[in-house]
Amino acid sequence: MDFGSINPVLLVASLMVAATPIILAAAGELIVERAGVLNLGVEGMMITGAIVGFIVTAHTGSSWAGFGAAALGGALLSLLFALLTQFLLSNQVATGLALTLFGLGLSALLGQGYNGIKAPEFAKIDIPVLTDLPVVGPILFGHDPMVYIGIALIAAIWAFLKYSRAGLVLRAVGENHDAAHALGYHVMRIRTLAIMFGGACAGLGGAYISLVRVPQWTDGMTAGAGWIALAIVVFASWQPWRLLIGAYLFGGVTVLQLNLQAAGFAIPVEYLSMSPYIATILVLVLMNAGRAPGSLGRVFHASR
């Protein structure tokens, strides 16, 4: 065992990378849930984004094209969920589960023949002087663009919900869909758009795993990241900035256990690798003070 081999600066830098897929997916789900919809299909949309992004990148050689395609793929898949829950008024829990099972099957089918190929490298941002700074450099300036896009997304969602009129309408729909409907807002349209945004974000998160974090394609590679994103939204009490804290906490546990594995820590590998999931459960137990949006998970039917 050698703790000296664990470099705290690199640890922080890599936890930011580990947290990014969760941040992206959870940010989308946060908007979906603030609109009053519980989409449990995050895992399915992430894995679909992961393979769609990987296929497009493998053929075009451009990671950006891959991310774009992944967002599109996730949004299209989530449209299925929107159709079922908003227009055919199905149970959101069951439909979300169906979306996950469907997405896992779809991605495995699409991913045939892509196993074991390595994705082209996604260039990191390199700012000559700043990146070379000790400690601060690698933590703040040495990442790929998606890390910053994730943080920017959180800031944008925060501002959207807090200051924009559209954000207020979205929150109204999520808090009380009957009242919002009576005020003349299009509940189904707003929710459908929110669901698609959530799908696009989940797709981006999935693509980040297959294009940057791993970076190759294997069946079922998201390994519960979508479910962890759902848990982080609960942890964050539906508040954007707390979501960032939750994701970094989770990223920290993941990276730390990987480092401990590499350092030959006395605990067997299998027990270390379950730690992120146990940490998520603990977090759910300790943080349940938040209040969920009033209409979360309820079916809206304008009976007039």
Binding site: L83, V234, E270, Y271, T280, L284, N288, S303
Partner: protein, 359 residues
């Protein structure tokens, strides 16, 4: 303009028709998927749904049908109580794994001596207990800390998989296995083997238990106070509280029932068809059982048929993999689609479609 009008009561006819219609639509859309993969859709559908029952090798595949349907039915029966009452245990896969590990551990502890009359029942008890312990965690956390049982039960699947890997590599590893991961083959040890009760029918003790579970759960659901409570809590939680149903006890009971049955299913699988604890002896029955439960309308008899149908897609899928080289993932997609279409068609059960808007 189409509008939906809520039915005062769910339609009886559509309750039965929706699953059948969903199967038909899935076959049609699945046919398109198979065609897109360059296979003849009609041949593919026939290979999956007809050949296992009446085709050339039916005498081999028919017993397989019950073998695969057994665990699916057993797990789905357990899940159906909770799903009816709005308690979402989606971590049956984890309870299945822990049940299998507990059962296998007991069986291996008695190796090489120990008589079957003692060992096998003890293994079943251990499997049930293992599944119950794993299901108790999300139930307790929900009752005590209001945590979401969906997320906790699902996280515990990943934890269970890690424990499974650890057991296959360390504690339960076969000492005579030349260092390869995996335990002794329980199905080849007379005391611990989950044997067929009737030769060549595929009916082993787990399938038998599943059939008993169908009958018992029908009685409980339709004729017992607990079944009434479950149905009431599902339709109106407030009414259930006024009727004297203790919601926390209901959560605990439903979770423990599903955990017990999933654990038993895991134990029967690991001592029978799977044979031994390995890194990946679980094949996702815990998740497929969710589809089975919904497709069977959360009703014991429906689940029996849905389990057999889903087993058919597994076996037909394997057959199509061999004869048509249809990718295995296509079947997974097929199963996912089935649940999707069922949920979509289900709108007809609760709503009526009206043409033209009523002003």
């Amino acid at each position: 303009m189409l509008t939906l009008e809520k039915r005062p009561q769910p339609s009886k006819n559509w309750t039965y028709a929706a699953p059948l219609l969903a199967v038909v639509i899935t076959m049609i859309v699945g046919g398109f998927v198979f065609a897109a993969l360059g296979k003849d859709p009609l041949v593919a559908i026939r290979t999956i749904f007809y050949d296992p029952l009446f085709g050339e090798f039916a005498s081999y595949s028919r017993p397989q049908l019950l073998l695969k349907a057994g665990p699916l039915i057993l797990i789905a029966i357990g899940l159906s109580f909770g799903f009816r009452a709005g308690i979402w245990n989606i971590g049956a896969e984890g309870q299945y794994i822990i049940g299998a590990l507990a059962g296998a551990a007991v069986g291996l502890a008695y190796f090489p001596d120990g008589s079957r009359i003692v060992v096998f029942p003890l293994m079943i008890l251990a499997g049930v207990a293992g599944g119950m312990i794993w299901a108790w965690i999300p139930a307790f956390l929900r009752n005590r800390f209001k945590t979401n049982e969906i997320l906790v039960s699902l996280m515990l699947v990943y934890v269970a998989e890690s424990i499974q890997a650890s057991m296959a590599l360390n504690l339960l590893r076969n000492p005579d296995g030349h260092g390869f991961p995996g335990s002794r083959n329980l199905s080849q040890i007379p005391a611990s083997a989950n044997l067929e009760i009737f030769a060549n029918t595929g009916i082993h003790w787990g399938v038998f238990t599943a059939l008993v579970a169908v009958v018992v759960s029908y009685g409980v659901l339709m004729r017992h106070r607990f079944g009434f409570d479950v149905r009431l809590a599902g339709q109106s939680p407030r009414a259930a509280i006024f009727a004297g149903v203790n919601p926390k006890r209901l959560v605990m009971t439903c979770m423990l029932i599903s955990g017990a049955l999933a654990g038993a299913a895991g134990m029967f699988e690991v001592s029978g068809p799977a044979g031994r604890v390995s890194i990946d002896f679980n094949v996702g029955y815990g998740f497929t059982a969710i589809i089975v439960a919904f497709l069977g309308r959360l009703h014991p008899v429906g689940i029996l048929f849905a389990g057999i149908l889903m087993a058919l897609t597994y076996i037909g899928g394997e057959l199509a993999q061999l004869s048509l080289s249809l990718p295995g993932a296509a079947i997974q997609l097929f199963q996912g689609m089935l649940l999707f279409f069922l949920l979509a068609v289900d709108v007809m059960t609760n709503f009526r479609i009206r043409f033209g808007s009523k002003e």
